[in-house]
Assembly symmetry: C2
Homo-oligomer: 362 residues x 2
């Protein structure tokens, strides 16, 4: 059922298809290296996994950007691969996750165990509880997980790769095994998000960062049905469900997936082209190019205004098109948040529409 | 001016918008690791650059797939970054190219020199001459270069990166410098291709493997105009000009670029969706997913037939959606070439259209 709310949170209001007086903004990867307080904390620990695994540290880090940037939502500080722990998967950061035993053949499936979420992921749920207790009521907490196809990419590739050719070969060579794996990952992602909601998450986002490698036929066979399954499982949870497919403009004809309340876009697709064919109450999230935050302020403002203009008066959650880059100047991030917040008042935004139409759309 | 030909080469005929009785096929990266003869030769040299730099070896390698696979075109065995040598750029293979001094600031531009093509790239032109002398008349030789934006990606990033964030930041921070660099690279690519044509190349392809990272506004400012400029320079050269933008389905509204005679697609976009809005005589090239070559033969055949069906009776050069993967089984590649060649006769192809419509389109 579509998400509705009477919350005072502009983020949740926008997720429900409303246009709040203050436009909400949060940034993917906002809880991390752009913040000096995070870098200072990080330097005291050898591996980032120590931060992910400690509810005390992870909750502090999750709250940092709310306090220091004034964003309208907190995003849980954890990793996309975290839920794989519930399958008994071991990995180390070098510096990205590298799995000890990738899943390539049917026999590898035996290495996956079915551990309870409580036993394997309770630290994440405890982080959720702590963050929620520390957030003001108008700031929402977003839980998240990798989408089933993207989790499968990590499981099969074993590490970040450029073309996912091991997984894509599996789809051709052993589709039965691929479906079995995706089934399990869909169940896992749904359970993990449900547990995050019960612990206090007020919205959930499925990150599908690998899905853009698929053509439409494989997308409709191996990715989309599992996203829909996760969202269906959360249908009565009463929180908005956000889907973020990265680098997937060719898959937009099949999006948003059934069950999604919000679709998040990267910078490849101007928001207005998608709004044009959506129900007027369907919210989009996005999509400033993270690289725009390195521009001189005049160009940054122009790029921000172009995104604002492309959303016009439709329900919109401002965000980047992908994660904020680690060395982004903090002052520029603050300028972004401020400009978006002021945009509803007419103080910024559509001043020079004839210019912003030509600007980098972000 | 549009390309026309009276050649007996099915590849050149298709490039001219004809539908030859035998459907032409060649494969990106066909001259390389899939061939045992190549691997045997490669094992005798420490660096792949020794193979690129020797006209004797590079011409032998270029000819190998023509002899051993029966493809309809030879693609010059050289690297995408090769033309950068004419700017005095130094790089080493580790195992992909890594530049000694990437271009990041205006002061770095001084490190670029203007060497004559003869002095810096004569070995490539000599390779072209030798290959051309060794090819039967019905097999065409394709010359190539990186498109200006992709060459800029190498120059600025200094190596293969996943998100091109250094170059993309430069577009926002110093567009004037970016344009200067792209100007130079467009002149270089045009001169290099012109020299290849004079040495015997009968077609040229611009590989734009990095362009998919751009949103439409940046594409139209920083990539498309320079592709058009290269093709315009070759307007009277009398050879077909092929443009291959990788992972760029969102840029298709602006494609094919002016001056292109053929557009090459990856597996993200079914050929028929593009044919539908093109002039009936405009040829497409592509677009089997290279991973399909690992499938059991029934599924491979189905994927091949789906691509054939999506081209229907339009001018079409069969190819992969990107380079053939190094460990692809040779027997499967041979099966592909044979099936495509037989498709015109009705011996293969549209036998089970109701199935192939559902198959992975490649």
């Amino acid at each position: 059922m579509p998400y509705t709310t009477s919350s005072s949170s502009p983020f949740l209001q926008a997720c429900a298809g409303q246009v709040p007086s203050r436009k909400p903004i949060w940034l993917m990867r906002q809880a991390g290296r752009i913040l000096p307080a995070y870098r200072q904390l990080r330097s005291q620990y050898q591996s980032v996994s120590e931060l992910f695994d400690s509810p005390e540290l992870a909750s502090r880090i999750t709250l940092m950007p709310v306090e220091q940037l004034g964003v309208d939502a907190a995003i849980l500080f954890t990793d996309l691969v975290t839920p794989l722990k519930a399958l008994g998967v071991h990995y180390r950061y070098q510096p990205g996750p590298v799995l000890e035993r990738p899943i390539r053949h049917r026999s590898d499936m035996q290495t996956l165990t079915a551990r309870s979420l409580d036993a394997s992921l309770n630290h994440v749920l405890e982080t959720v509880r702590r963050v929620r207790a520390g957030l003001p009521p108008e700031v929402a907490l977003i839980g998240y997980a990798g989408a089933p196809f993207t989790l499968a990419a990590w499981l099969v590739e074993g590490q970040a790769t450029r073309d996912l050719s091991v997984l894509r070969r599996l789809l051709f060579c052993n589709p039965v095994l691929a479906h079995e794996l995706l089934e399990r990952l869909a169940v896992l992602a749904a359970e993990f998000l449900q547990a995050q909601i019960e612990a206090g998450a007020q919205a959930v986002q499925l990150f599908d960062t690998s899905v853009g490698m698929l053509g439409p036929v494989h997308f409709r066979e191996f990715a989309l049905p599992y996203v829909c399954r996760v969202f269906e499982q959360l249908d009565t949870a009463g929180v908005p469900r956000i889907y973020f497919p990265l680098a997937a403009p060719h898959l937009l004809p099949w999006l948003p997936p059934s069950g999604a309340d919000v679709l998040s876009l990267d910078w490849r697709t101007p928001l207005d082209t998608l709004y044009a064919r959506l129900d007027p109450a369907f919210p989009l999230q996005g999509n400033l190019d993270p690289c725009a935050l390195f521009a001189p302020v005049a160009q940054l403002d122009q790029a921000i205004d172009a995104v604002l203009a492309s959303a016009a008066d439709r329900p919109h959650i401002f965000n980047l098109g992908h994660g904020v880059l680690p060395d982004t100047p903090l002052a520029q991030v603050r300028r972004l948040v401020e400009r978006v917040h002021n945009s509803g008042t007419g103080a910024a935004g559509n001043q020079t529409p004839e210019l912003s139409g030509d600007a980098a759309h972000g």
